[in-house]
Subunit: 332 residues, 2 copies
């Protein structure tokens, strides 16, 4: 049930050996296959899996590939300490307007922002051996974990700022913290409760648990917190995961909500909306976040309005965003 990562050292080892032969020794896939006594097709898949799972990571050592002027404009507009902006792609090709291009851009954005966030995390950990890292959830955070391999930080602690999903996806807060802790050698801590309680009363009960209180104390001590912004549409991750129903989405929008972060819904001015869901979410609230060094991660043009709204709240001190969304926010 714990998926891929736990499924066995066997294939881990094979992936590593294949990757070694291919990337280090310079074998081609056919030679590597012969060497390991398996088929080329399998080598091919192993290599793909190895990259996907972050076992082999490719890093570009370059001071700058981002969009300096755009970063500066966003920084000053929202009063941020810093802003990192990945390169923009614009339309990928003349022909394809639709689905495919959208989907492609989306995937690119997660990876790009995740990678940039991982670089930021790396710097933070190097400057601060005993850092306490707060994290959110989502595909951007997942990508961040995949690009955090090779960072060593045995004295760091990672703490989820929110409860867990029920489904065990790779972008579950639990998995995010776990992956980061494993990658860096640090400690992982969780909020051992659901993301959204069944009622406000239940929330109180859950919050009162001693283990939850302990986790929240640690969460408030975070030296940096990486949280991602969610949009509020039928195609958003919250909906796909069925964390909220279609009806709830409608009522949230009616209450003025335009997006969420860690399950807290906010309006166009970045203020939490008055909606019963907000009284059931278990996560560090805006007031706590304001005391924290919050880095907002924004990936994908669908989040344009939600990101703009959240940034207006003044909660974020830093921003990592993909170029395309950044340009749209600035109306360019």
């Amino acid at each position: 049930m714990l998926e891929m990562s736990a499924e066995g050292h066997e294939s881990q080892m094979l992936m590593a050996r294949a990757a070694w032969l291919y990337y280090v020794a310079g074998f081609n896939q056919e030679a590597a296959a012969k060497r390991l006594g398996i088929t080329r097709a399998r080598i091919n898949k192993l290599l793909a899996d190895a990259r996907e799972s972050g076992l082999v990571s490719i890093q570009i050592n370059q001071a700058y590939v981002g969009l300096l002027p755009v970063e500066e404009e966003l920084r000053s507009r929202y009063g941020l300490d810093f802003c990192v902006c990945t390169p923009e792609l614009g339309q990928t090709d003349a022909g394809d307007q639709g689905e495919a291009a959208e989907e492609f851009l989306r995937g690119y954005a997660f990876r790009a922002v995740g990678m940039a966030a991982a670089a930021h995390l790396k710097r933070h950990l190097q400057a601060n051996r005993t850092a306490v890292i707060g994290t959110g959830w989502g595909r951007t955070l997942e990508q961040m974990t995949l690009n955090s391999t090779g960072i060593s930080a045995p004295d760091a602690r990672f703490i989820s700022l929110m409860g867990s999903l029920t489904a065990n996806s790779a972008y579950n807060p639990f998995e995010v913290v776990h992956a980061l802790a494993r990658a860096t050698g640090g400690e992982g801590h969780f909020l051992p409760v659901p993301f959204i309680a069944d009622s406000a009363a239940d929330r109180q009960v859950l919050l009162a648990q001693r283990s939850v209180q302990q986790a929240l104390v640690l969460a408030r001590e975070a030296t940096v917190a990486y949280i991602s912004i969610g949009e509020l549409t039928e195609t958003s991750l919250l909906r796909r995961q069925e964390m909220i129903s279609a009806d709830q989405l409608v009522s949230l929008r009616a209450a003025g909500a335009v997006g969420d972060t860690n399950g807290l819904f906010f309006d166009a001015a970045g203020s939490p909306v008055d909606h019963e869901l907000n009284s059931r979410t278990i996560a560090l609230g805006f007031d706590d976040l304001r005391q924290t060094n919050v880095i907002a991660l924004v990936a994908g043009v669908a989040k344009q309005h939600a990101a703009d709204a959240f940034l207006r709240s003044g909660v974020a001190r830093g921003l990592v965003i993909d170029g395309d969304t950044a340009l749209r926010i600035l109306g360019k």
Copy 2:
């Protein structure tokens, strides 16, 4: 004259952008070419250059791919603190006995050992922020520098343990130290004198220089030293670089020499031979090295006997070696 690295930010930037589009954004070379307005052939070359120059580095995050039993045997045989052994390739393919296979293995060995050494360096720097790293020269060290990108160590110092070549190759001690310093953000220091002085008397004059003395003081403080072993044949790097003449090679062998490290020639027992060249070499001597945490780097089966001899000297405390050479040393 200063080659590639200095030739311009122009192509650096282009390489980085191409690498970004290809590796991060997931464009294929054709799409990336269109995006940057250049031909696919150029993208292809840019990407190859980017990998070659270490601008993009590929890392495999795996605890172990080496040869545990072989490492243990080498470790105990030579009384080492540790031994790392890269995977062996054996004969690459049934058909090709000759040149091509040899050459291939050779290139593989440099890369593999360089990469493993870089990993060791990384660990050392993480455990020891103010480390002083002594280095030798050669193709293995060059590969080590290429795989050291992305390590941050602003308080570390790198010091060459020997004088410079006259030609400015990428494996010149000067270049090795420079590359490491640049990659990690640390300080680079050199012995600003030739590798081999024209006479023993000249050597004394050069050694007496204040700047040389200062450098040697630092070199003796090294917390770890990475030096590579050279074989003593017509095809060795020393000969190819014309650091020694064919006649000198013959007389060295006559004096019992089987290899060198940093230009110091030793016999089958690992003791420095009595030869005039050894009185002209400017490098940290065996006595100083014995006070230092010396890691020997051995890449390539040609170095089998030289490596065995050097290890007998007891100067080395650690060993990084490619699997094929390791197996031959053990007679397997």
